[in-house]
Amino acid sequence: MSLILRTTLPDFDYLLPSSLDELLALKAKYGERAAVIAGGTVLLNLIRLGFRYDYVIDIKGVRELSAIEYREGKGLVIGAAVTLRDLENNEVVRDKYRVLWDAVRQIGDFHLRNRATIGGNICNPTLQADTIAPLAVLGASIEISSMRGSRRVAIWELVKEGGGLLLDPDEILTRIYIPEPPKGSRGAYFKVWWIAGIAALAANIDNPRERIVRIAYSFAPSPKLVEGVERIFRQEKPLKVLIGDAINYIKTIVTPPSDARASREYREHLVEFGTAYLLRKLLGVEV
């Protein structure tokens, strides 16, 4: 037994398919022996520090995976290889999908967002899956593709405990679908390093019966959507009171982990006061 702290990357072959079919064929052929590289900002760290693959398949050659498409009323389709910079610069994302935009611009740093992709953040959330909580409150689904075909599922269904997606060895995350957000909705993301992220979305604030408030948590790297918050906010009480009710409810549901980066106690503090901060900001409630 010995400790080696590597500088060089171990050997692998680099493959650059130019079409989706070719990509899926390669993934079908090599399965778990092949890693997918989009931005590489996480993968190359994993490889240097111990993960071993025989093949690294670059999906940037597949054009459609780098596209963002928005159709009024239908929503947004984001290719897995779309960079965080492209999302940050996209006006539709900024204006309509604010919670996602707000989360994206807090990931990594300016330079890293030129490379890092949304697909990478979803599939390789070793640090913190900052896009998953926003996608959850937006009701996003993801497209998983393989030679066997494509399937579309709610993002929540495939998120593994501890991060990452439950995919078969031949499968690849290809697209993210986000429905048209509720009219006039607002969103914001609260983040403390790789300790906690809180995504919140609100719409129809002034009308209790149609009021929408959704909230999701991401504790590096495990995300959690809190169902039931929406119900609380449908009550005809002052918003201030509802925020208190919601937080007390959330405190019973959300049990953050303890790890090397933060204790459960500190995360619980963030859940309580971070949520209060975020909801007040979002709902326009003065302290």
């Binding site: 010995s2 400790l3 702290l5 403390v192 937080i247 963030l270 309580e272």
Partner: protein
Amino acid sequence: MSSEFRYVGQPVKRFDVDKVYGGALFASDIELPGMLWIKLVSAPYSHARIKRIDCSEALKIPGVVAVFTGEDFPYKVGIYAADRDVLARGKVLYYGHPIAAVVAESLDIAEKAAETIDAEFEPLPAVLSIEEALSPRAPVIHERLGEYRRASFINPVPGTNIANRVKLRKGDAQKAMEDVDVVVEETYRSDPQSHAYMETWAGAATIRSDGTVEVWSSHQSPFAVRNLLAMSLGLPVSKIVVHHLYTGGGFGGKAGLLLEHIPVLISMKLGGRPVFLQLNREENFYYMAQKPGFLFKMKTGATKDGKLVFHIGEYYLDAGAYADYTVNVIRSSTFMATGPYEIPHIHVDGYAVYTNKVPTTAFRGFGILELTASFEQQMDILAEKLGIDPIEFRLKNALKPGVSITPTQEVLAEDAGDPAGVIRRAAELIGYHIPPQRSEEPWKVRGKGIAAAWKGPVQPPNAASSAIVKLNEDGSVDVLVGTGEFGQGTIIALAQIVAEELGIPVEKVRISPYRSTDLVPYTWQTVGSRGLYSDGQALIRALQDLKDQIKEVAARAFNVFKDEVEIRDGKACVVGKHSECIPLERLALGYTFPSGETIHGPIIGRGSHVPSGTTYLDPETGKGNPKPFVTFVAGGVEVEVDLVTMQVRVLKAVLVTDARIINPGLAEGQAYGGILMGIGLALKEAIGFDEIGALRNPSFLEYRLPRVEDMPVEMIFESLNVPQRNAPYGAKGIGELTALPWQAAIANAIYRAIGVRVKEYPITPERLLKAVKEQRPDILTELRKIMVGV
């Protein structure tokens, strides 16, 4: 400084512009023809006997030249105590302790081969904290401690884990305890922290056919590397050449010998082939020494009128597996004992303690960071208990030059500086007595804090410097000094002095940043804020010598007496006669009379300096004079505590020093750099260990450094410009001083903001939350009321 000088005191631009334009060379950039790469293999145990290291598979890999283990290199390495094996022998002393070195044609091959090395260990009980190390039942980490070569002033305690024990005794502290009205007894701690210089360590070595060992490496002090290589490996100094290129930051972490012995010894084994070792960041955390964690216990008493009477301290540094400079760092903490204040009765015991953790060494501030982080909280706590304003309390007890007796029982020199002045000015600049403006967000609370410090270079009494100045035939000069360039820009300040003395444009002064020990004159080390002061004095003497020769030659040319010649504007002139001048270029190679007769030959000035009056210290009391000069600083901050995240942001920082400044642009750079480093050490940076002693965060992803976002909105740096006698233009060092006040100033400001005192650094959100819950749970109750409505 006033405009009496043309260059000294001016913000002359740095001339090491190749760092900006491209072309700068660092040790990491070295590529020697035919160079082999070294990869270190280390142990995943904190303390274990090595049972077996099997290198056979590695040796079969094509491109692998050799594999070495500890037994190949039976040398002990170290500066003040030779406690370090080249590669572990017999047992490993910390998690990450190198046990083998693979040498191969490429790094890629070396790393692949390294992964095949199979080692077997028998774990031993490990010592992972200062308290454990001091326990009578603790395993002894260095069993042969008493046999190590060591400096005369280092006192290890064989049979224990005490690497050095230091005593300071002034007056009678025990007795004085009866004469006080208020006593404060506290314990302060810090995690180990990292220099985190940007250039990880790299070094190359080769042996020339005449047997000369050549080394290129990332270091602060080329002559220290040469000296320690010679001492540790038994090589003659005459057979070692150390090359200094640019060094990508040091902060004390590259002060002495780093890992140069590894490539040197490997090259010697391989017939002199050039070999290269470059650490990546993770390796740098494990293989290079870090800043020790500390545990300082303090008991301090004062009378109710606010006079400090006694101070009793037990200061411990967690030296890790190898103590390097740390055995001397604890001397510095102990002998400066009580900060810039006079206390008649002092009793401090200082200890550097071995543990099974990463090795430690010097860090910018050399023991005074730890002292200031602790003692300046102690001062605020005392002031509060006494009901006296903290500034008034500090001023009342501040050292008085020419009057006060220092902890080492010397009268503080009259020209020592202005301790009270820096405190007063820092308080003014931060607006200490003006309440901070309230934040618009009620969960953000602001407070102001202050801390003061003093420091001088902690060096042996014979720490010498020398300089050579050559006059060139175009009237320019080449200056040869041993000063290391790792960012401070001391060589720019030195060039300003040369330009000033000779009255020539600073552009005509060349000081190469690259140097080799066989080509430049000696300087002891570039550490302890001593470069400008010590090398500067040697340089001034060299310039006097040079000018003396110029005058001698010019006097003969003019046929006047030597004292009738003056040097101004790059010319030698007869005093009072503007028309009778000879430009220096015509004197550079001597003077040629119209007849062709030539006198003197090339003009070269040389100068030496060694501090006068510094002594070894009495081992029982610490009495003596440990430092050639001291600098005083005070820093003030305004912080904002975010109770939602428990993050602390420094909004404003002010730093006041008493030192005279040669180049305000460079000095400001030191100041801002010191402030940000201080913010990191105060709030963010900690090396963490898991339960078996492995590093939790040997990477920049999780060892968090200050970034642009951590910059205070406002930073002010001011100097009182008090001249130091026997110093170049009255200047003294400030490099380390700028980093000293921040930990305590921030802790004090947090206390004044929310009434919560955190005595353990760094003050992370996690620690602050814990302290709030313990000390002021009402704050959270109140916050809950306004934010959650419960």
